[in-house]
């Protein structure tokens, strides 16, 4: 261990060395970190998903022009597309091409079974630039140009799913909080046991004028190392699982699965988990040791 990182009291081995990694504690911290990493990643990914559902995806809508006369359908489609493109509050107005429409239907009718004679509706995707605008006005304008046209707002489909995702997000956050609290409790119990074991030595150090912070530093250093080791083990295992799940989700292609992903900031947060675990350990040790020492004179 790098000597200058050690507190002065630790360098002088005021407490016995013991096993530097602390036996089972780093493994327990590792398991908790693994769970915390998954909960954190789940929470962040679902948060991104929820944001996408309530943001980009729910701002979209589709206009379907159901007209058996192909020429009239083409005219109505062009007129509606022009009307939509003329609006300043809409973006990404896209008329789906014939091949795209056939690709949408193919999974149900089978490849090669869609002949020219099959009447398909024309479809126009559009997205509000911000929020969701006046759908009633759009509806009225579209029907004026094509009385048989129909508008599907994506929000109406995503709203229940967005609710579920929101609940799952907060469930992940709750699990993360519980894992953190459990880790702190385990560390606190371990520190209390260590304080009892080393009670006579601590009392001797006190008699000789050692301050609380000197004694606390002995424990903080040891437990920080254990927290860091456990944190690294747990985070590596957690990240491996997240990468595997990410690859599995990637196979679904775009859509919602593509939105439930981690941003670069999210990956940075996950990489910082071992440090956060070490900090949590230090804080827990400081509080636990401080409380115990204050019970003595």
């Amino acid at each position: 261990m790098i000597a200058w990182l050690q507190p002065r009291a630790q360098r002088y081995r005021f407490l016995p060395e013991g096993r530097w990694a602390g036996g089972a504690l780093p493994w327990i911290i590792g398991m908790m970190t693994f769970l915390a990493t998954l909960a954190l990643a789940g929470g962040m990914a679902l948060s991104n998903g929820a944001a996408a559902l309530t943001g980009g995806l729910s701002r979209s809508f589709t206009v379907q022009i159901v007209e058996p006369n192909p020429d009239l359908k083409r005219e109505q489609t062009a007129a509606i597309a022009a009307m939509l493109r003329a609006r300043a509050d809409l973006a990404d107005v896209v008329v789906l091409g014939d091949s795209e429409l056939r690709a949408l239907v193919e999974p149900w009718l089978g490849s090669g079974n869609i002949g020219e004679e099959l009447p398909l509706p024309a479809m126009i995707d559009a997205r509000w630039k911000t929020g969701t605008g006046d759908m009633a006005a759009i509806d009225e304008a579209v029907r004026a140009l094509a009385p048989t046209a129909r508008i599907d707002t994506h929000a109406q489909w995503f709203r229940p799913l967005a609710g579920v995702v929101e609940v799952l997000k907060w469930l992940a956050v709750s699990i993360g909080v519980l894992v953190v609290a459990t880790t702190a409790a385990i560390v606190a119990l371990s520190v209390r046991a260590a304080l009892s074991t080393h009670g006579p030595t601590i009392e001797t150090l006190h008699i000789m004028g050692a301050e609380d912070r000197t004694v606390a530093a002995l424990f903080e250093y040891r437990y920080a190392i254990q927290g860091l080791v456990g944190g690294v083990i747990g985070a590596i295992a957690g990240l491996a699982v997240i990468i595997v799940i990410g690859n599995l989700l990637g196979q679904f292609g775009g859509g919602l699965a593509g939105e439930v992903s981690l941003s670069p900031l999210g990956w940075t947060a996950l990489a910082a988990v071992p440090l956060l675990v070490a900090l949590l350990t230090i804080l827990t040790v400081r509080i636990t040791v401080g409380r115990r020492l204050r019970q003595q004179l």
Binding site: R8, A9, Y12, R13, F14, L15, P16, E17, P200, T201, E203, T204, L205, H206, I207, M208, G209, A210, E211, D212, T214, R294, L297
Partner: protein
């Protein structure tokens, strides 16, 4: 000469038990040598615990180094403890540390530079006859050697007050004489010394020493020399 320790009507009880010390009142001048005598259970160790600030009294007032330690915040106590050297009856050596490291503890706690620590500890170990046992751990030291380590640890930082609980209990008469001589020398250099002992014959070796006799938690002081000292002005209490 200033007062370094003053007890006024001090009582001590552990938890809700009976008082183990009652109405203790005495004054120690800087540079005094005091023997604390009494049979087992008389309260000598409890009185020493008050003196080395391991305990606050249940009642009364204790002034040390010119400060009322009964009302001092506990954060102020470590600095005062570093001015007190203690030799405990059970030595309290730290088992995993060598004799050298045990003796060096007070200096290292006080943040003394390591070169200085080494020089002082080596010199003192030679003086108490432990130079050959520098790297020995307490488990392999004899009772007498452990006691010398404990005494060396208590005096290494040149404390203002040296407290010793039965310091000659486990050593042969010759070593007992040497240790008492060491205490006397430290006392002549200005250290206030309090020695709790059963060995009454040693008291004659320090003719200038005063004696505080305890019996079942109370002072036995028929001459009234130590009990109820006259009031001291605050200025007189400061060092």
């Amino acid at each position: 000469m200033s007062t370094i320790v003053r007890f006024d009507n001090v009582g001590l009880r552990y938890g809700t038990g009976a008082e183990v010390l009652r109405d203790i009142g005495f004054r120690l001048e800087t540079g005094a040598f005091m023997f604390l005598v009494g049979s087992s259970g008389a309260g000598k160790t409890s009185l020493l615990r008050l003196l080395y600030l391991a305990q606050r009294p249940s009642r009364g007032r204790i002034d040390m180094f010119g400060r009322d330690i009964t009302s001092l915040p506990r954060t102020a106590l470590p600095a005062l403890r570093r001015r007190i050297g203690v030799v405990l009856q059970d030595f309290r050596l730290i088992e995993h540390l060598t004799a050298f490291d045990n003796i060096a503890l007070p200096l290292r706690i006080a943040g003394v530079h390591e070169a200085e620590v080494k020089a002082h500890v080596d010199e003192l170990m030679a003086w108490v006859g432990l130079a050959e046992r520098r790297d020995a751990r307490p488990a392999v030291l004899s009772g007498g050697e452990q006691q010398r380590v404990a005494i060396a640890r208590a005096v290494i930082a040149r404390p203002d007050i040296l407290l010793a609980d039965e310091p000659t209990g486990n050593v042969d008469p010759e070593m007992a004489g040497r240790l008492l001589h060491l205490f006397h020398e430290l006392n002549r250099l200005g250290t206030t010394v309090v020695v709790a002992t059963h060995a009454l014959h040693l008291m004659s070796r320090v003719p200038s020493a005063i004696t505080l006799r305890l019996d079942r938690g109370e002072m036995l002081d028929p001459m009234g020399v130590l009990r109820n000292p006259p009031p001291v002005e605050p200025a007189e209490l400061s060092l």
